[in-house]
């Protein structure tokens, strides 16, 4: 009884958070762009932006708590999908728009679908969510985790006053092609996407910028990761394939 009430409470709070987010988006008085936020790479100390952060943070933490406390595995996967959507919202706030879309497509769209497939294959009745043996050791683990979180949080919180003063950093500007040097124009005509390094920084988080970086500075990791994915596909098929003995077992009897 308590578990279903918790699930209902989580769903209700998620609906309330979504409605509040929708209202803050539609209400013209809560303009999301503030003067400080108009600057490049600035959060803007505006209340709606902070509200968005707390909404996505609540979605992330609520979804992850939902995952680790559910007895039903499909419900846990759905909680994971909600967590990934909230994390994609956080990525958008961090000016990583390409990563946000990739997060939704790959993590929520492919990896979680794989988990659902395997859950359907492993059609086993659910075990107890919390193991009862060794409760003292596990309680000790929980307390030490809490201590770890408090100390790590203290360290991470103490650096907030050492933020880079973005008002003093040179703002990247859009580059007018005609005003460039002949060398830059030749480079652009030769297919180079960015004649100026500051323009690359201006398009922070865009598909073009990440793609340009991936194919020039990090070309070798890109190719290596594609090799890793190939090996993973072949290995997964090789591991999950039933052996010859299992295949002709029913006929041999």
């Amino acid at each position: 009884m308590m578990r279903s009430d918790f699930g209902r409470a989580v769903s209700a709070s998620a609906v309330v958070a979504l409605l509040a987010g929708l209202w803050s988006w539609l209400d013209p008085s809560l303009a999301l762009a503030s003067e400080a936020g108009e600057k490049m790479h600035g959060f803007g100390n505006s209340k709606p932006v902070a509200f968005l952060f707390w909404m996505f943070a609540a979605g992330t933490l609520g979804g992850s708590l939902f995952v680790i406390t559910r007895r039903n595995m499909v419900a846990a996967v759905m909680g994971m999908v909600a967590t990934f959507f909230a994390i994609a919202g956080l990525y958008l706030m961090l000016y990583a728009s390409f990563l946000a879309v990739i997060q939704v497509l790959v993590y929520a769209g492919a990896i979680m679908v794989l988990f659902v497939f395997v859950i359907m294959i492993l059609n086993k009745e659910e075990d107890e969510p919390w193991a009862l043996e060794g409760l003292l050791g596990k309680g000790l683990a929980g307390l030490s985790l809490l201590y770890l979180f408090v100390r790590v949080g203290q360290v991470l919180w103490s650096v907030r006053d050492q933020a880079v003063d973005l008002s003093k950093a040179p703002l990247p500007k859009l580059v007018d092609l005609a005003s460039q040097s002949q060398q830059a124009q030749d480079a652009l005509a030769g297919g180079l996407a960015y004649p100026d390094k500051w323009q690359r920084a201006y398009e922070f988080g865009s598909v073009k910028g990440v793609g340009y970086t991936l194919f020039t500075d990090y070309l070798f990791p890109f190719e290596a990761v594609s090799l890793v994915l190939l090996v993973a596909v072949v290995g997964a098929i090789a591991i999950a394939h039933p052996s010859a003995k299992e295949q002709k077992g029913p006929e041999a009897s």
């Binding site: 990583a96 790959v106 979180f149 907030r160 880079v164 970086t213």
Partner: protein
């Protein structure tokens, strides 16, 4: 209440730390191997949030602007590969043992 209104990078870092701790709790306290693997994915996402928060923190530097996002992209790709192989192992183990209780999967044979 400026802690709620003034967003800093540390907000994202502490959130990622909390998500990481929730992932560790899931790995330690759950017995189902699939939930354990989902908790591992939670920890990887926490690392991604940290990397992207620092990438935005140093966003004014044109050299370091895209390093964090490229690293996060690589982490997502490698996590996909690891999830595929791990799930294949889980399926293969389940075919032999007929259960997914990691407390009982402690010996190589029975």
């Amino acid at each position: 209440m400026s802690i709620f209104y003034d967003l800093t990078t540390s907000h994202f870092l502490v959130l990622a730390a909390a998500l990481f701790c929730i992932g560790i709790v899931g790995v330690l306290l759950r017995r189902n191997v699939l939930i354990v693997m989902m908790s591992i994915e939670l920890m990887l996402n926490a690392g991604n949030i940290t990397v992207l928060a620092f990438s935005r923190h140093f966003g004014a530097d044109p050299q370091a602007a895209f390093q964090g996002q490229t690293l996060a992209l690589m982490v997502i790709a490698v996590a996909a590969a690891e999830a595929a192989v791990g799930l294949a192992i889980a399926v293969a183990v389940f075919r032999g043992r007929h259960h997914t209780n990691i407390d009982r999967l402690s010996m190589l044979k029975n």
